[in-house]
Symmetry: C2
Subunit: 153 residues, 2 copies
DNA sequence: GTACATTAAATGTATGTACATATATTTGCA
DNA sequence: TGCAAATATATGTACATACATTTAATGTAC
């Protein structure tokens, strides 16, 4: 990606109705751009981004189990289908799923040793990825976080 | 959405490894948040976001036709499948598709009168949506655009 | 204690994304 | 001319998203 590629050039649409319209497009585009880079890096570990995020939540709970509800609460995308993401992780033996003894409607989900080991293996790559934002100074990153939080108010 | 909902609270994850890590999460989360709001507003018009974006590009070309390649060039997500989005629009008779006479590999795609009329109908809603970013001042929106462009350099 | 609502998760369906592959057409060049 | 490479699009597959519906377990009112 070349230097100073403005959003106007990226999507070859030179005029926006407003700076607000442009910011919306810019946000969606940039998030997609980031996710694409992440997904590519994750591919060699045979994990998708949502699968990785669920694993991370489970590690945060470990050794306590998580329910599907807890996963949904903590996932970035609240409406995604946690059940089916857990399906894939279970098939890869990265998590276990068991009916919760105290509430048989719920399911206790735990990360396995293999799951923990995989996260460990991925750590250097994840840190590498974080450097992708180093185009921004510390102060600029803080400013970005401030603006995004304010935008959603 | 309540006032001053920081990303830490939104996803109930109080500590990030770095401000950079937080910015990444914040970006992806905020983009999803915006898209969810847009998608909800579009639903009553029976259009998805990508379908709407393709229609907009076609209106920009009207009355000249667009090819699938041109759509891909201008779409936010370059790897999405323009062919199949056009399929859906064609099924709703919002666009026409015809083999290009001068290059029979290519396909000429045009927005129909019904398509133009639909975009017209949606205009007030779209303007309404743009107000979603009015939490930010003009200066802040410019700053946001600057930071996002720089981030992708 | 049965009836009804609520809750937790799973399932179904339509759509979109990411990527590989296939098909048809055109171009370039030996 | 003839044939390989490039081009334009379509198709196939795995996964995820968005949302409605279903199934099972639990809670609650009467």
């Amino acid at each position: 990606m070349s230097q100073s590629m403005r959003i106007e050039d990226e999507i070859k649409q030179p005029n926006f109705q407003s700076e607000y319209q442009k910011a919306y497009i810019n946000l969606v585009y940039t998030a997609g751009w980031l996710q694409l880079r992440q997904a590519a890096a994750f591919k060699e570990f045979n994990l998708t981004l949502p699968q990785y995020n669920v694993l991370r939540i489970l590690r945060g709970q470990h050794p306590r189990p998580a329910t599907v509800n807890l996963l949904i609460e903590r996932m970035l995308d609240k409406t995604s289908n946690a059940s089916r993401i857990v399906d894939k992780l279970e098939a890869k033996q990265l998590v276990t799923r068991r009916v919760c003894p105290s509430n048989r409607r719920a399911v206790d989900i735990c990360i396995t040793e293999a799951g923990l080991a995989l996260l460990e293996t991925m750590q250097p790559m994840v840190e590498q990825q974080a450097h992708g934002l180093r185009q921004l100074s510390d102060q600029e990153v803080e400013q970005l976080n401030y603006l995004l939080d304010k935008l959603r108010d």
